[in-house]
């Protein structure tokens, strides 16, 4: 009956990355707010596992799904299956394959535009510091968001007259790896004046290396996503700017959209969230705090 409690499932591509945990937090919070139950699955970056998770969710009788897919191209059979089972799906973080329409909503960040904005900001930092070489610590380039960030950033560098001296990727997305990468990058290219960090751990690692080398502030660091650690570094001046991605917000909005679909309320199929830049001087401002509340869970 109508009183029966609905369940929303969150399928993450992998849950060992904090970003996807925070999306999950948003889904969970919003589900609670809407009176729904919450379950979560992880796909371990395997499209087969992702499909299995969808089927298990159906077996378990969930009513709606919020998914961060392994990749856009992995979505068609999944969407076909869920459509057949009549289950609303919202995407968070990564959208479905372009051209598909059989989904409820896609709540994503505009990675290309962010890449462009962050690229310009990074280049400006380099120029302020008397150089035009920039380095990049990237997400694995097999990810679509990484490819879009890079494309935007490269265009910005070209437009602003900076050169990308080196781009290095990490697989594990740990600070430790990023430290090694940043060390190696600065050894190979000592003229780099600003570092573009594509995710939090990259920025943290770069800041760490600069501190060790006594270069804090002399080489600029920008980072995308945002986390308590990078906000701390921002306040200390070890990082010059963060482009926040609203992980929690994506979970909240995605959940709201599937809830709307279940209750017959209107839905928005494409929600591309902007990623606002916050610098050290603005981090305590009310607007920034409002953004940050939609980035990661409060420390409770």
């Amino acid at each position: 009956g109508a009183a029966e409690k609905k369940t929303v499932a969150y399928i993450a591509p992998s849950l060992d990355i904090s970003y996807w945990q925070w999306v999950g937090y948003g889904v969970k919070k919003q589900a609670e707010a809407l009176g729904m139950d919450y379950v979560e699955y992880t796909s371990e970056n395997s499209p087969a596992k992702q499909m299995d998770n969808a089927r298990v969710a159906v077996t378990k009788g969930v009513d709606a799904i919020v998914i961060g897919p392994v990749s856009s191209t992995s979505t068609p059979p999944l969407l076909n299956y869920l459509q057949q089972e009549n289950i609303p799906v919202a995407f968070a973080g990564i959208g479905p394959q372009p051209g598909l329409t059989n989904f409820t909503s896609a709540v994503t960040a505009n990675n290309y535009e962010t890449g462009k904005a962050q690229g310009k900001f990074t280049c400006d930092l380099a120029k302020e510091r008397g150089g035009k070489e920039v380095g990049m610590l990237s997400l694995p380039q097999d990810r679509e968001n990484a490819q879009k960030y890079l494309k935007g950033a490269e265009e910005a560098f070209a437009a602003e007259g900076c050169t990308l001296a080196q781009m290095l990727e990490t697989r594990g997305l740990t600070v430790n790896e990023a430290v090694t990468q940043a060390n190696d990058m600065l050894t190979a290219h000592p003229d780099i004046k600003a570092i573009y960090g594509m995710y939090d751990e990259a920025g943290t690692g770069a800041a760490k290396v600069l501190a060790t080398r006594g270069l804090t502030g002399k080489v600029g660091v920008t980072v995308a996503d945002g986390s308590p650690t990078t906000i701390g570094l921002l306040k200390q001046g070890a990082i010059q700017g963060i482009f926040f991605q609203e992980a929690v917000g994506q979970g909240i909005d995605g959940t709201q959209q599937v809830y709307n679909a279940l209750t017959g309320a209107p839905v928005t199929q494409n929600l591309a969230l902007v990623m606002p830049l916050v610098t050290a001087d603005k981090v305590e401002s009310p607007e920034a705090q409002k953004v940050i509340a939609r980035v990661f869970p409060p420390n409770d």
């Binding site: 699955y41 371990e44 378990k60 992995s74």
Partner: protein, 326 residues
């Protein structure tokens, strides 16, 4: 020949119950697990969920069989997950370039053939340690999976390709199940009834003694690596036919799972022991644990712990339910 009558040595084959004690213990553990999950989530015992498990287990089963063939000879194959991914990419790429699904699948299988042969060559001719050799091909195949499409994942357009996985050559039996059954039965038959199969065990139990009785040790080992490569490629093709999408990271968690399946199934990494059925059951057990964890809705942070404890319980059932091996 002598006056004292010698007591006859029995030649009757041991009963299936005796030969497959470990396997029966694992099967019992799986059933116990399913019932336990079913207690919390009744739909776990539904036909639909059995289909889920079968679908999820199929590629792992095929790969575990391949890894088992190598492990029986005392080797190891770390490259299977990467070969699985690369096969998917090659197959999807071939189709994207206009090849039909049959020739694309064959191209995919060539990946396994090639990497199996390279592994076998480096182990048997160059005489490098299997761990090092397959670690190298693990890295190389994993990297090639990105290189071939420059990191892009590849959707598959051929509308009939899914039939390879989910069609029914035998009515009522989806193909992925059919393939698993055929592979298991064929390999178990090979290992028990075909001389080459007995040679695989002989090589694993003592390569030196095997050589002296005329067993072509290096050729036997080589074949095991090729078979393992081929089977992981087959699993790769089967999976893209299900997902209709190829991803460079698709197999990254499968290597450890396949080896774990083999070892949980009773094989020793020192070679010479285990059965194909055991490897299959090991793969099933891993899949069932994951399925159960998901159905019960275990918090994802806890999943590792719960999975670990479940495996521990399963091997303890085997260890103590099976006094003969104590």
């Amino acid at each position: 020949m002598t006056s004292s009558p010698s007591p006859a040595v029995r030649s009757r084959a041991p009963s299936l119950l005796q030969s497959y004690r470990t396997e029966i213990a694992i099967a019992a553990a799986i059933v116990a697990l399913l019932l336990a999950v079913g207690f919390f989530v009744p739909s776990a015992l539904s036909m639909g969920n059995m289909r889920n498990i079968a679908q999820a287990a199929a590629p792992l089963v095929i790969m575990a069989l391949g890894v088992f063939l190598v492990v029986v000879t005392g080797g190891i194959d770390l490259s299977v997950g990467s070969v699985f991914s690369l096969t998917g990419m090659v197959t999807a790429l071939a189709m994207a370039n206009g090849y039909g699904s049959v020739s694309a699948s064959l191209a995919g299988l060539c990946v396994g053939l090639a990497f199996g042969a390279i592994n076998g060559f480096l182990v048997t001719v160059v005489r490098l340690a299997p761990f090092v050799v397959t670690l190298i091909t693990f890295a190389v195949a994993g990297s090639l999976a990105f290189i071939v499409t420059n990191g892009r994942s590849m959707p598959i357009a051929d509308p009939n390709f899914w039939l390879l996985n989910s069609g029914e050559l035998v009515p009522g039996l989806p193909n992925h199940l059919l393939f698993c059954l055929v592979a298991m039965v064929a390999i178990e038959f090979l290992l028990r009834k075909v001389v080459v199969g007995r040679w695989l065990y002989a090589v694993g139990t003592s390569a030196g003694a095997a050589r002296l009785i005329g067993i072509p040790v290096q050729r036997v080992k080589f074949s095991a690596y090729v078979a393992s490569g081929l089977l992981s490629s087959f699993a790769g093709v089967m999976t893209v036919s299900y997902i209709l999408n190829a991803e460079a990271t698709a197999g990254s968690s499968l290597m450890l799972q396949a080896i774990a399946a083999v070892v949980i199934g009773g094989a020793s990494l020192f070679g010479g022991t285990g059965t194909a059925i055991g490897a299959v059951l090991g793969a099933l057990m891993i899949t069932c644990i994951q399925n159960g964890v998901n159905l019960i809705g275990v918090n994802s942070f806890w999943q590792g712990s719960v999975t670990g404890i479940a495996i521990l319980l399963a091997v303890l059932i085997d260890r103590f339910g099976n006094s003969g091996r104590a």
